[in-house]
């Protein structure tokens, strides 16, 4: 299984910076793994603990939040709010025996197309090394 393991990762990206950076990575024709899929939100401050946990519950191998650089949030401090929530989810994962690295927070500006590609690669490799999510494995056992 692990030989062909391709992690499934969800990224919540804010409209102004991270999502724009992902678009720019495309404009620059930078290749990065296809494992990461993006949901756009107006501000990462919109992303709730619930959203991160539900994704994991649905079988995500990794979830990340990508927002503006710290201090440059378009809504003043939404990225700082979600940073705390990401930490909170990481704590929960630790407590239930899952690797907290399955959830991560990234910050980048809209001009950082190359950085977005790096993040996507970095996150994919990190989760690949962690292996499939135990929840996902459990779910597939249920299905089978």
């Amino acid at each position: 299984m692990t030989d062909t393991f391709e992690p499934r990762i969800l990224a919540y990206c804010c409209k102004y910076c991270a999502y724009a950076a992902a678009d720019l990575a495309g404009s620059m024709r930078l290749a990065y793994p296809g494992n990461i899929k993006i949901i756009q939100v107006p501000c990462t401050g919109r992303v709730d603990v619930l959203h991160l946990l539900k994704a994991l519950e649905d079988g995500a191998d990794g979830v990340c939040v990508a927002g503006c650089l710290e201090g440059e949030c378009h809504f003043v401090a939404g990225n700082l709010k979600v940073k705390k929530r990401v930490q909170q989810v990481q704590d929960i994962l630790t407590r239930i025996g899952m690797d907290p690295q399955r959830v991560a927070m990234f910050n980048l500006s809209s001009a950082m197309g190359a950085r977005f590609a790096e993040i996507a690669t970095e996150m994919t490799e990190r989760v690949r090394n962690l292996g499939p999510s135990p929840i996902g494995a459990h779910l597939s056992r249920l299905v089978n």
């Binding site: 391709e6 404009s27 620059m28 494992n35 995500a60 378009h74 003043v76």
Partner: protein, 1493 residues
């Protein structure tokens, strides 16, 4: 500001032209468009965004520049009432304020922006690399380009300059640059297609053309010209020209006879055939080709090449009849009688010119042309043992080399001039020499020596060259008495040819020149005989083949017109050409060797006529073609035309002139940066590691040439030490003529040091070399303190003497410290903090606009009309008025919008466009019916992902009732189709899978709204920017991911709901708090635009601190200005003035505020004002100093007190023997770490006034940095010139002030330059005391507006929203925001008016959409989490539940995420919707294989 005086206000035009699409122009456009005016935004470049878009980060917040400007770009680019005119210049302005006619010239973009989808395929295939101007030339881009990815309009453009010199030099006008570029790419077939547009014989001319193109090649300015001819031959060597499909028009009835199958005749036949005209060529010789066949030996042009290419022409149906000369058997009349509609005479010049010396008739004398004809037709000819050839042209050399091959023992060329003058090609001469041909220079034959009728020798005479004559030519002159004889047995004269006119003698109506050529019209090649045309050598005399090719083509054109009965001349007259504009040659262009043509080994040459030049290989060809400088920009290879599936490329797009009527013009063309290249001491031109600050911005930028990795240009190594040099091109009248300070450089340099350190992976040493640190803006000083203290930036007060190259690409700086010490230090890199200069054509622009410039070349404006120009109705903002930073430019942009709005207030709304929309359909209660539209985006998506499979997959998803795929979903026809489909299939949710919602969501939302759907019933899947562009080489992955993204979008679409924006009425009034200049200007501005103003002042007097000021820095009297404001405020019917009044309660929402005002001292009255917006102009004032014994002595004054003394007791000032000023009293201290901005100017102005009253008065200024920014620098210059003495002090060591027992002041300071203590006994001591904001804590709390740690109001965004508060509908102006001068205050007050107008001018406030919503108020626990978490303080708790006003909500959703009871949701991003999307990703009903397969 001025009123429309000379015109009927009703006739004012409700449109404004904004010139310049930088941030100032964008802001002015948005303000006006939002306030009910139609805006024409004119930009010279292909996209708006200006310099700000090029910046990496902005100071002082270190915000990403692109992040903050790009939403503005999209807003301006898509605004219904902003029309973008890119690549456009102003030609002329006529008319008057209110009613201007502006003539515009729009340069062709060559790509239709309406059709362009910005897919970039054109750039991908474009072979031409040009410097990327957006990246300051640090990398290249293609000639088909988008200025930068985020640029608006989101369309590509093609950069063309004048045709390249090679093309201009080619007699046939071949698109040389185009085929060279194709050869570079190995596209030989395409190269031939370009060549064969004009020339049917590529392989022939690729061998024998004398290549005038190469003589014109600008590459020779770098090293040697490009080997163009060899590249042409390479194309023909690698691809058979016979295989090129030549487009021909359908055949016509008429036939044309052509006499002569040489290059002219063949060319005429070829071009006629392409036009559908059949021709028959009559050729006298046994084989076709003319001189190409019989004039050029086979070792230069193998006959099979000629045969092959003649076959190209016969392949088009051209018939060639050989051995059929014109003559008594076949006359021109016969031909015309036979039914040929026209005759083209092209028999060439095949008759040799005799030497005209005795003995020429002897046996053994043979004309060169005759000799060559014999050799070429028979491959043999009689040669002697010792052959002498007379002449110096190519024919002579050809004869000589042929004679060698035919076995002559000794071959000698005799030429009467020297080698320098020899017309044969150098390479041919060299080859002849290699083949042991002897050349005798400076000799001429006098007599052929004949024995028994046979040649036995030649008598020669030596020649010498005369002095150059008037034309510069040196004529050969025989040297008497130098005759000598040589032994030879064959003489071959080759001194020229002429047409053989024998066959034409009888043709009626043809005239001949005195050179024995046929006379024709210079343009049409028509002879004087109707229907008969002539060309080639017959008409021109002996010339080159490519000239004959051109003559043939022109004749074909004439013949075609003649057959059509059209005018032969129209449109063909030679155009007067100006100096062509070509791509500049970079100083960094590397030298590269020219390709060397391999040749047949010498020993093989003598044995036959095997071709000598062997042709170059493909790799050499590529390298050689890469040497082309692409002088013309676009090479017109037309590869983009084929690549563009949207058919947007139009290479023949013409320039457009248009006239637009507008009521006002706002000038915001920005600035240019100073070019340091001509100034040797900076080493900029000579050294790649010396960069300008703008280049450095691109180096830092994540989207720049190095993706933000900080490396130096020379070796891409990370630097360890970088130096910044300040005042390059500013405050400098020695190196340049820029006396002024550029205002922004100190701060941007400080920012760059900090950002560079952040980017560096290792500790980076940064040093800023400066004279005065001028960080006078809000939060600037604090930034610099942090840069120095926390980041360790070295600020070195010094003068840099020189920058010299050191080893390893480093640079050595020699600089002089303040103490006079000279220091040398080596840096890896040097950044020149270049100043701002007026745009290059500022003078021309000013002339066209009829406005005046000041002596610095910027627009002249006045302190009291800061955005006015010398022409009524034309306004200015931004750096075209004076160098300034972004917030100041943005403020002025809004101010200019306000002034234009005032001028045209009667016409507001008259031209503004309104979209007519059908009523929204109600789908309430209906299940989702989803339509999915998958875009191919040409091949951008469809080329990688399997779009049909994605489309079919979508049809399997729940609720999907319609799927389709489109070539371009965004094209107009597909938009129309979409509307139709939505109606037909009763679709109530739409998903488009295409590009990014950032650029295209508004477009599709508009479309579905036009179809009657609520715009929020829309969802997008980004399968291009975030999919196929990323996975272009992995189609399986791209397809799988596209399916995932579509599934996610459909899942959300099933849950989306219509969102209705409520329109709330607006109270058409503004409350202005504060009755100083800012408040009065604001109130009058609002009232002048036709709205009610409530002006509230807590004191009993209007005027504020301005009552104590006498003059602005440029000398305008403040008193009369303030008096006039007061009079107008008091008399204006729409200004209601409240003195002795304070606001005590504030409530309501944006557009509908209520403020309770309490008036009076003892007896209070209360009024409730209803208003739509608020402007806070609560002012500030001079701090009462506590330092320097202030208050202890009557002669210690503040600035304002000095002004009062100068007004009331001028004698006291005049008699003062010594006056001292101390700067920064209470400013830039630990307690108040900000600069009060105005004090330096004030001191300079006062010092000059004192000197003016009494030049004997000694004036001293103790200062820390003189901050006379912008043109204020002239005051500093004048003050020094007037003898004012400036003594600098350090913050830690301020001057000491003591009062002696007899009450005399003693001031002691340290002079750093003289390095000694200075002691003064001033008669007057003036303290430049800090400016403080007025104490208004309660008022600010009432309006819930924030203040910074210095007590100044905090704007919504330091750069782009400098007069707005984060809370909507509240604005600020004046000293309450930050210390500023009167002109700046007026500008800001008017800016606040413009911003308020964007609200008030609307019919109503649209509230709702993506906003937070308390969906279940009963469940609210009043925990206040929402209230605390909102960055804008929008949520309130009222009556036991949270209330969020839709009109005020910014839509971030932070409260929704924080709300513990989940009572609050963010509309369109509800938990349900987001989770549906996330769930869909992981619960794929169709998925069988793991992701990433």
């Amino acid at each position: 500001m001025s009123q429309v005086s000379h015109m009927d206000k009703q006739r004012a035009i409700g449109a404004v032209m904004v010139v310049g699409g930088g941030i100032a122009g964008i802001q002015a456009s948005l303000d006006l468009a939002e306030a009910g005016f139609l805006v024409h935004l004119v930009e010279r470049k292909s996209a708006i965004g200006g310099v700000m878009a090029q910046l990496d980060k902005t100071f002082p917040t270190n915000d990403c520049s692109m992040c903050i400007i790009s939403p503005k770009l999209v807003e301006a680019g898509r605004h219904l009432n902003i029309e973008l005119h890119t690549l456009t210049e102003i030609e002329a302005v006529s008319g008057a304020a209110g009613c201007f006619q502006v003539q515009l010239l729009e340069h062709p973009r060559f790509i239709d922006p309406q059709k362009c989808t910005a897919c970039g395929e054109c750039a991908k295939v474009c072979p031409v690399e040009l410097p990327n101007t957006f990246d300051q030339g640090l990398q290249n881009r293609r000639a088909a380009f988008k200025l930068y990815p985020q640029g608006m309009p989101s369309a590509y453009a093609i950069q063309k300059m004048d045709p390249a010199p090679c093309r201009l030099a080619c007699p046939a006008g071949l698109n040389v640059q185009g085929y060279v570029q194709m050869v570079k790419q190995g596209k030989y077939q395409e190269a031939l297609r370009i060549i064969m547009e004009e020339l049917p014989l590529p392989g022939v001319l690729g061998r024998i053309c004398p290549h005038g193109c190469e003589d014109a090649c600008r590459r020779s300015q770098v090293d040697q010209p490009v080997a163009i001819r060899d590249l042409k031959r390479l194309a023909a060597d690698r691809f058979d020209p016979r295989q090129i499909k030549i487009a021909c028009l359908p055949p016509r009835e008429e036939k044309v006879a052509i006499i002569g199958a040489g290059p002219a005749g063949l060319s005429a036949a070829y071009h006629l055939a392409r036009s559908g005209v059949r021709s028959v060529i009559y050729e006298a010789l046994p084989k076709p080709g003319g001189m190409l066949r019989v004039g050029i030996p086979d070792h230069r042009l193998p006959p099979e090449i000629l045969d092959r290419e003649i076959a190209v022409i016969t392949g088009l149906g051209v018939e060639i009849l050989c051995n059929t000369p014109l003559g008594p058997e076949l006359t021109v009349d016969d031909l015309l009688e036979k039914g040929y509609r026209a005759v083209y005479l092209a028999m060439g010049a095949h008759k040799g010119i005799p030497l005209g010396i005795p003995g020429e008739k002897a046996q053994g004398v043979l004309q060169g042309v005759d000799f060559l004809r014999e050799v070429n037709l028979t491959e043999k000819a009689q040669v002697g043992r010792k052959v002498a050839i007379i002449g110096g042209g190519n024919v002579a050399v050809d004869v000589a080399r042929s004679a060698v091959r035919l076995g002559a023992a000794e071959v000698t060329i005799i030429y009467r001039r020297t080698r320098r003058e020899m017309p044969a090609w150098e390479e041919e001469i060299q080859a002849a020499e290699q083949e042991e041909v002897r050349i005798i220079y400076l000799a001429a034959p006098q007599e052929v020596l004949v024995t028994d009728g046979r040649v036995t020798g030649l008598r020669l005479i030596r020649m010498e060259l005369s002095a150059p004559d008037a034309s510069g030519r040196r004529r050969p002159i025989p040297v008497p008495g130098t005759e000598y004889d040589v032994d030879i047995d064959q003489v071959i004269p080759a001194i020229g040819q002429q047409p053989d006119l024998a066959a034409l003698g009888e043709v009626a109506g043809i005239q001949f020149s005195r050179w024995g050529t046929v006379e024709t019209d210079g343009v049409t090649y028509a002879t004087s005989r109707e229907g008969v045309f002539a060309g080639g050598d017959l008409q021109s005399g002996p010339w080159i083949a490519i000239g004959a090719i051109d003559a043939g083509r022109e004749a074909a054109e004439s013949i075609l017109r003649y057959l059509d009965g059209r005018d032969l001349v129209a449109g063909r007259e030679p155009k007067a050409a100006g100096e062509p504009i070509h791509r500049p040659i970079s100083r960094r262009e590397p030298r590269r060797p020219r390709v060397h043509m391999p040749e047949l080994a010498e020993e093989k040459r003598r044995t036959g006529f095997q071709e000598v030049a062997l042709g170059i290989d493909t790799e050499s060809g590529r390298l050689e073609a890469e040497r082309c400088l692409n002088c013309g920009g676009c090479s017109e290879c037309f590869q983009c035309v084929e690549a563009c599936i949207a058919k947007a490329v139009q290479h023949d797009m013409p320039p457009m002139w248009k006239t637009i009527a507008v009521g006002a013009v706002i000038l915001a063309p920005g600035f240019e940066t100073f070019n340091p290249a001509p100034h040797a001491p900076y080493s900029y031109a000579a050294h790649p590691n010396v960069v300008t600050s703008l280049e450095f911005e691109r180096l830092l930028s994540a989207s720049g040439p190095f993706q933000g990795h900080l490396v130096r240009p020379s070796d891409h190594r990370e630097p360890d030490k970088i130096a910044w040099l300040q005042c390059v091109g500013s405050r400098d009248i020695n190196q340049c003529d820029h006396e002024y300070c550029s205002s922004v450089c100190c701060m941007y340099a400080a920012k760059q040091t900090v950002i560079a350190k952040e980017h560096s992976t290792k500790p980076l040493d940064t040093a800023v070399f400066y004279m005065d640190l001028r960080t006078f803006g809000k939060e600037f000083d604090r930034y610099c303190r942090r840069a120095e203290a926390e980041h360790g930036v070295r600020f070195i007060r010094s003068r840099v003497h020189t920058v010299e190259p050191a080893a390893d690409g480093d640079l050595r700086l020699r600089y002089v410290l303040e103490s006079g010490e000279i220091v040398e230090e080596v840096f890896d890199m040097v950044v020149l903090s270049v100043g701002l200069t007026p745009v290059a054509d500022a003078a021309r622009l000013a002339e066209r606009l009829g406005i005046e410039l000041n002596r610095h070349g910027f627009v002249r404006s006045g302190d009291l009309e800061p955005v006015g120009t010398s022409r009524e109705g034309i306004f200015v903002c931004g750096a075209f008025q004076e160098p300034k930073d972004i917030p100041q430019a943005v403020m002025e942009a809004s101010a200019a919008a306000a002034d234009a709005g005032h001028l045209l207030s009667a016409a507001r709304g008259s031209l503004a466009r309104v979209r007519e929309l059908p009523p929204e359909k109600d789908f309430a209660g209906e299940p989702p019916r989803i339509g999915v539209f998958v875009c191919n985006c040409g091949i951008n998506i469809g080329g990688s992902a399997d779009v049909p499979s994605v489309r079919d997959y979508a049809s399997s998803l729940p609720h999907v009732v319609h799927v389709e795929d489109n070539l371009f979903t965004c094209s107009q026809d597909n938009q129309d189709r979409m509307k139709q489909v939505l109606a037909e299939k009763n679709i109530n949710r739409v998903v488009v899978a295409s590009c990014s919602p950032r650029t295209h969501e508004p477009l599709f939302q508009e479309t579905i709204r036009e179809a009657g759907l609520n715009p929020y019933l829309f969802e997008m899947a980004n399968i291009r920017d975030q999919n196929t562009w990323v996975h272009m080489h992995n189609p399986a992955m791209a397809t799988a991911k596209a399916k995932d993204l579509v599934r996610m979008a459909v899942a959300k679409a099933a849950h989306i709901e219509p969102l209705h924006q409520v329109t709330l009425g607006i109270e058409p009034a503004v409350l202005v708090v504060g009755g100083g200049i800012a408040g009065m200007e604001a109130a009058l501005g609002v009232a002048d635009q036709g709205y009610q103003a409530y002006l509230v002042e807590r004191s009993g007097e209007l005027g504020g601190v301005a009552l104590k000021l006498s003059r602005t820095w440029q000398g305008a009297a403040v008193g009369p200005y303030v008096a006039d404001l007061v009079r107008r405020v008091q008399g204006h019917p729409r200004v209601r003035l409240f003195l002795h009044t304070e606001a005590v309660d504030f409530s309501g929402i944006l557009g509908n505020f209520r403020t309770e005002l309490i008036t009076g001292k003892e007896r209070l009255t209360s009024v409730t004002a209803k208003h739509g917006a608020v402007i806070l102009a609560t002012g500030g004032g001079e701090r009462r100093p506590t330092e320097y014994h202030y208050g202890d002595h009557p002669d210690i004054l503040t600035h304002l007190e000095l002004d009062a003394v100068m007004e009331q007791d001028p004698e006291r000032v005049r008699k003062a023997g010594t006056v001292a000023f101390i700067q920064c009293v209470g400013s830039r201290t630990a307690e108040r770490p900000y600069c009060s901005r105005v004090c330096c100017t004030y001191t300079l102005q006062s010092a000059l006034a004192i000197k003016e009253r009494n030049s004997e008065t000694a004036v001293f200024v103790f200062y820390r940095d003189i901050r006379s920014y912008g043109f204020r620098e002239t005051l500093y210059t004048e003050a020094r010139r007037a003898g004012v003495l400036f003594i600098r002090y350090d913050e830690a060591l301020p001057p000491e002030m003591a009062l002696t027992e007899d009450r005399r002041m003693v001031l002691t300071g340290r002079d750093h330059i003289l390095n000694r203590t200075v002691m003064l006994q001033p008669d007057l001591l003036v303290l430049a005391s800090a400016i403080l904001p007025n104490e208004n804590r309660e008022l600010f709390e009432l309006f819930k507006v924030p203040v910074n740690s210095d007590g100044f109001l905090v704007e919504a965004h330091a750069k782009l929203r400098p007069v707005d508060f984060a809370s909507e509908g509240i604005f600020m102006a004046g000293l309450a925001h930050y210390p500023k001068s009167i002109d700046e205050t007026i500008a800001q007050a008017r800016a606040a008016v413009a911003r308020a107008m964007t609200l008030l001018a609307k019919d109503g406030i649209r509230a709702g959409g993506v906003v937070a919503h308390v969906r279940d108020p009963d469940q609210c626990a009043c925990c206040l989490v929402c209230v605390r978490s909102c960055p804008y303080g929008v949520p309130k708790v009222r009556e036991g539940r949270a209330v969020i006003e839709a009109a005020e909500c910014h839509g971030c959703g932070i409260c929704a995420a924080e709300c513990p009871a989940k009572v609050i949701t963010l509309q369109h991003f509800t938990d349900e919707q987001l989770l549906a999307k996330s769930h869909a990703l992981f619960q794929d009903p169709v998925r069988s294989i793991a992701a990433g397969d």
